[in-house]
Amino acid sequence: MSLINKIDELLHSEFNILSSSFSNKEIIEFRRNNLEKFLKLGIPTFKNEDWKYTNMTFLNDIPFSFSFERPQLTQIVADSVLSFLNGSPSTILPIFNGKFIEGSAVLASDNLLVTTINSAFENGLSKEAIDDYNKFYNNSNPFIYLNFAMFTEGLYITVPSNTNFVQPIIIILGYSSETPFISSSFNFIKLEENSSANITVIFVNESNSKVLGNETLNINVGKNSNLELNILQTDLKNLITVNNVNVQLSQNSSFDSNTITLHSEFVRNNLNIAFEGQYGSVKLNGIYFVDTGNFVDNHTLIMHDNPNCISDENFRGILEGRGKAVFTGKIYVERDAQKTNAYQSNKNILLSDEARIHTRPQLEIYADDVKCTHGATAGYLDQDMLFYLKSRGVSHIKAKSLLLNSFVSENIEKIKFNELRDFIKQKLAEKLNLQDIFFCDSILNVSKDS
């Protein structure tokens, strides 16, 4: 039986259980509609242009179930994930197997409004607000429909107007299972007018069997508001990550994201951005590092529907062994979106002949007064740089590591959340075997003050 049939059967039989947490008829209807859409599309194959290099049909061979029980977040996992904070005050919101673990949550401030998406629906959040996010998909991403149909829970976060929320907000998306299952959370984040926030989503998996983590993060950035979103996916084994991030930007607002994917088995990030007003600014930065057995696909879509907006995309990847990565950068500039500035860059360093990168800039421009540039490169390490370092006594391996570190450091420096930035630097230094060098930076600065 194919996965699609299984899901059909499962969902129809368990749909009532899934829906029992909602008394809101609209939402049950919303789920049903999305289930129909999903069943119609099925699991994407390479024939779907948006999944050309990301064959998902292997999902059919995994005997998934759905999990509705509320698992406990183990303290060990929570501690290890959050150790980089060094105790600095943060809001911590754990979602495990698709459910919010309220007991382990830390709310560092009363200014932030956090509830579950379920109670938000019950309290009058309209399905239209959510349905609107469908526009990003145009029938090309069945996973969003699957998420909308079968999410178990999720967060509804509001940053109230005129609030500069300086403390980081950390959402842990955790998974733990002994049997294969599909986990879906539906999260909605709203920044009201004149506000700012820094949100970091950390994926963590302690499952011993395959888990499909099919998540949505639906974000609305209000007028004059600024959001930094960091996504951290490191060393994820057994997790098939389908991370759907949908962002609507109001007038004069900004969205900066940093997507960090290191040595993970299977990650598909869908980053979808729409400018709903003028003078918006978007920066999508990313770093990925793949080795044999790793796959990452960053699929970005930026819809310039309004004039005077800026988007800047910069993804850098290091590919080793038989690692494979895909980058797609779709940019639509509508006829009315004059004075659009759109930049896109995807650079890759291949460390082996067997590593694979598919990079596809896709620009569709219907306005005539715009500036759009894109560039994609895939190459090997610069031999002159390598020789220069080696000529000073640096070993081949260290020289290589230094250059790889330098290749991604520009993107790391863009992360504004200090503790996270240092953590990622350290993580990369470990992966590149440069720990002693990373610590040199901080010591140098300490000595300078003395």
Binding site: F387, K390, R392, V394, L402, N405, E410
Partner: protein, 254 residues
């Protein structure tokens, strides 16, 4: 004692014979200058000594401190005590001078059986050497050669030389593109580093750097070979007569 002994070195680049049986001996503590017109193989010699890939050794041998240099990787040559100041120092965005040099110094120390320097000692050492070449210590936190002026890049080479403490330092056209003040700074650095345990091979097109660094020997290179050797007065003679003097075949062949 020989620190460098080159015998009958023949080297091809892209299939063309560039070095055509070159001989050179350098003793510890000596300063040798190699002068010659453009395209005569001076930089090829420097690159072959440093171990840059892309050079095909056809014949001959190079002994460095009694060991076969041609069998060593570039990093091994550096650890054994060979240093080349690049004609065109490479810019490396994202790697700070401090991190680069800390890695290099500690790898060389490890090779010599010494403990790695801790951050504090290392910083002291770097500041001291930076002063020697007139570089503001803030340059340590800047990326390697990125956005450096021509003069800063060359001073950075001498700074690295000072830190790595080699037995043999090769300066490949370090004076090219520098104004007279910058040449003086570089020359003062070299003079300060001149010891009886260190030799220099100064490759240059012009005589003027030799006004500030007084060589023990001057070699004139032409068409892939050393054709004349003398003392510092040879450099003045060459400056006065020009390279045409060589081309006309008037020099005394060795």
């Amino acid at each position: 004692m020989n620190v460098l002994k080159i015998e009958n070195l023949k080297v091809k680049v892209n299939g063309n014979l560039i070095l055509k049986g070159l001989n050179l001996s350098v003793n510890l503590g000596e300063i040798h200058a190699i002068m010659g017109p453009n395209g005569t193989g001076k930089s090829t010699l420097a690159n072959v000594l440093a171990g840059k890939p892309g050079y095909e050794i056809i014949d001959g041998s190079i002994e460095f401190d009694g060991k076969n240099l041609l069998e060593m990787e570039p990093e091994e040559r550096a650890r054994e005590g060979l240093f080349m100041a690049f004609q065109y120092p490479i810019e490396i965005p994202g790697v700070t001078n401090a991190n680069f040099m800390k890695t290099a110094v500690n790898e060389i120390r490890k090779f010599r059986g010494l403990e790695p320097l801790d951050a504090y000692d290392f910083l002291q050492l770097m500041r001291e050497k930076a002063q020697l070449v007139g570089l503001d210590p803030s340059f340590l936190n800047r990326n390697v050669n990125e956005g450096f002026s021509g003069g800063e890049k060359k001073r950075n080479e001498i700074f690295q030389l000072a830190l790595l403490d080699p037995k043999l330092a090769i300066l490949d056209e370090t004076d090219s593109g520098l104004d007279i003040d910058a040449i003086k700074v570089v020359a003062n650095g070299v003079n300060a580093l001149r010891t009886e345990n260190r030799s220099f091979l100064i490759i240059t097109h012009y005589q003027r750097i030799l006004n500030y660094i007084v060589p023990d020997f001057v070699h004139i290179m032409y068409d892939g070979q050393i054709v004349t050797t003398g003392d510092k007065s040879l450099a003045y003679e060459l400056e006065a007569k020009g390279y045409d003097w060589l081309k006309n075949g008037n020099s005394n062949k060795n």
